[in-house]
């Protein structure tokens, strides 16, 4: 492959532009963030100097100015949130009451469609399977692993092994696992790990991803593979943070390892456990990349986010896609509320 730098110069120009824009915006922001507080600080200093020179009482730090100062930092964030999150959320909700071309109001038709269509019922059921299984299995595995390797020899190596999948993107992980599940005809050489194992045990190769509900479970394995590392890291840190005197006191009382786990470890890491379960649950509700990369929702494996993308962007059914998006949003709300209340309670207790 020949690469002609001269012919590609417009692309390099574009790249340069991007870099320049980045430097200007980020540099400008940093300067601003630095200059504005410095300006206030200098003015205050000047006031103090002037006040001490004239012998007048020192001016009190004025509250409103600090509010203004806070606003200066908050405004960009609030503005971006408004443009990027709040407005689209409102718009999506409105669109979900309109037809496919977003021109006529159709009332609740899209929601009725969602619960009446067989194919979508299957999608909702699949999402339910995902959201029940993934947090449960991933957290359990992460917990077991972190307890088992805690203070073991080569703990760091063992932990990094299970943590590494976290570093791979969902799409990358899905492609890896697609190879694991790959199928070749009986008289061909198997390229899939799973089928190779089956064949070397004397079995016949199978098309793993074609049979429902086995295929959904096999896709869930991918998600667990990615998320178990996250659960393990957070829980392991929590376990290490359990005060040594508590553990020691328990030991002196003569607890068995079993009792130690259920009565000391688990209650001590409860906050961390909840954070992990909540985070994985939300990630699971949104799962899209894995399904799209491995089966694209064929063979009864589709989930809400995948179906939402297909309806809105591929089939031109904006209304139905938006209804699915709103439904997904509604599903996430209770989890978020639970998490917020939990955080509040912890703060009160702490």
């Amino acid at each position: 492959m020949n690469f002609d730098f001269a012919a590609q110069s417009p692309k390099f120009m574009m790249l340069l532009w991007g870099l320049v824009a980045f430097a200007v915006v980020i540099g400008g922001l940093l300067v601003l963030l630095d200059a504005v507080p410095a300006f206030f600080a200098r003015r205050r200093e000047a006031q103090l100097v002037a006040a001490s020179a004239s012998g007048a009482p020192l001016p009190a730090r004025t509250k409103p100015r600090e509010g203004l100062f806070a606003l200066f930092f908050l405004l960009p964030t609030v503005l971006l949130l408004l443009i990027g999150l709040v407005v689209p959320a409102i718009r999506t909700t409105l669109l979900s009451f309109m037809d496919g071309s977003s021109q006529n109001w159709v009332g609740l038709d899209n929601y009725r469609w969602m619960f009446a269509e067989d194919a979508i019922e299957r999608v909702l059921l699949n999402t339910l399977i995902w959201v029940v299984l993934v947090p449960l299995v991933a957290t359990t595995m992460g917990l077991l692993y972190s307890v088992l390797v805690d203070k073991a020899r080569l703990e760091v190596v063992a932990k990094s092994l299970i943590f590494m999948p976290m570093a791979i993107s969902f799409v990358g992980a899905s492609i890896i696992w697609r190879f694991v599940y790959a199928y070749r005809g009986e008289d061909q050489e198997q390229i899939g790990l799973l089928n190779q194992i089956v064949v070397s045990l004397g079995g016949e190769p199978r098309q793993w991803l074609l049979d429902s509900p086995l295929n959904t479970l096999l896709l869930i394995v991918i998600m667990v593979w990615i998320q178990a590392g996250f659960a393990m890291v957070v829980l392991s840190a929590a376990i290490k943070a359990i005060p040594a005197d508590i553990v020691e006191a328990a030991r002196l009382d003569g607890v068995s390892p079993w009792q130690m786990f259920w009565q000391i470890t688990l209650p001590s890491i409860r906050p961390a456990l909840i954070v992990v379960v909540v985070t994985i649950s939300i990630a699971t509700l949104k799962v899209f990349d894995i399904v799209r990369t491995t089966t694209n929702g064929n063979y009864d494996t589709s989930v809400i986010a995948n179906e939402m993308y297909n309806q809105a962007f591929r089939y031109g059914q904006n209304g139905q896609g938006s209804a699915l998006a709103v439904f997904l949003f509604v599903l996430v709300i209770p989890i978020v509320i639970f998490q917020i209340r939990n955080l509040r309670r912890q703060r009160r207790e702490g």
């Binding site: 430097a23 300067v31 410095a38 496919g100 194919a119 005809g185 061909q188 190769p205 063979y299 591929r314």
Partner: protein
Amino acid sequence: MAFHARPRQALAIAGAIGLALSAAACGTGSSDNSSGNNNAGSAECAPYEKYQGHDGKKVGIYSSIRDIEADRLDQSWKQFEECTGIDITHEGSGEFEAQLPVRADGGNAPDIAFIPQPGLLQRFAERGQLKPASAETKAMAEENYPADWLKYSTVDGTFYGAPLGSNVKSFVWYSPKMFQEKGWTVPETWDDLIKLSDTIADSGIKPWCAGIESGDATGWPATDWIEDVLLRTQTPEVYDQWTTHEIPFNDPRIADALDRAGTILKNEKYVNGGFGGVRSIATTAFQEAGVPITQGKCALHRQASFYANQWPENTKVAEDGDVFAFYFPAIDPARGKPVLGGGEFVAVFNDRPEVQAVQTYLASGEYANSRAKIGDWVSANNKLDLANVANPIDKLSVEILQDENSVFRFDGSDLMPAAVGAGTFWKGMVDWINGKDTAAVLQGIEGSWK
């Protein structure tokens, strides 16, 4: 709070450098496009005279065409660019069908899009996003293309743009070498085809290879099968009624066509050479599906003319070579030669004069020949000189498209609304191959068509 002077200076310098650089970049950027060097007066520019007067203008094209094919596109309008001074930039995307609506709705529509699905074109036209073709383009298209092709880009009586490239789908790929060695002959009718398949199956080879996996478009090759068979079992009128939903999707005649396709595709004796059983069709990539022919593991593979590009390197595509294709036979040849095909249409989102000039030019005979000379291209443009078409399969395609006896019909799934044609129909075919029965599959697709 203490503020050190030094980092602040560094930051200020960084910002200043950034500004200076951006000013410099700005300078070079603007000097680039003001220099429109065209040699409009020369002799080879004579055919482009009527497109003059847009010197230095830019036209952006968006399509699903990538890699080599995209390079060939760029090459095909080079002369036009040099002579008229119009700068055409082409951008190809694998996510074309999903991204084009996003761009159009977001107010960032390309000037021109090559849309391969009349159903999608219709959606843009109905939402008022497409601009009707100019009178010049319409006259040019009517002069150069058969009337049924123009029908596909006409919505509610308004014409939106001429066809560009085409492909013929009614082909069965085979190995002339293998046929000669085994003494098989190219079948002329459907019955011959089935007889040949039985003969091949009896010789211990699985006669057919098939694969419908195609990423997020999985299923489309099977829809072509059904459409091709339907054109052979029913009249073209029934086909039209089916694609426009005048008859239900699960009409008995459609079920009949599906079952007839099933006698090949769902026949464990016939498929799937080198890949496994019937269900392996669902997971075999369409690009790889025909390759076992070159290894002698199967003999027949029904796929469009563009499959010529999918064979392994050094495979000779010719009537006496490693692989070639024959016309997917009609059931009753007396009723004419039904041809299933596809192609893209040149639709315009911004009707500036220079964009219209490009649109008109792309409909011309000059363009068709200019593109054909570069290689691997087929068009229904009747100004296309067969001598400019090098590839033997492309020649055969052009001959079939220009044949008066051919009854041409456009790919049905591309004509249907995307929710059906690129949605439930594709998914339905995957389920059908995977073992779901005909009635349930058709019922499901019918239910999704609103």
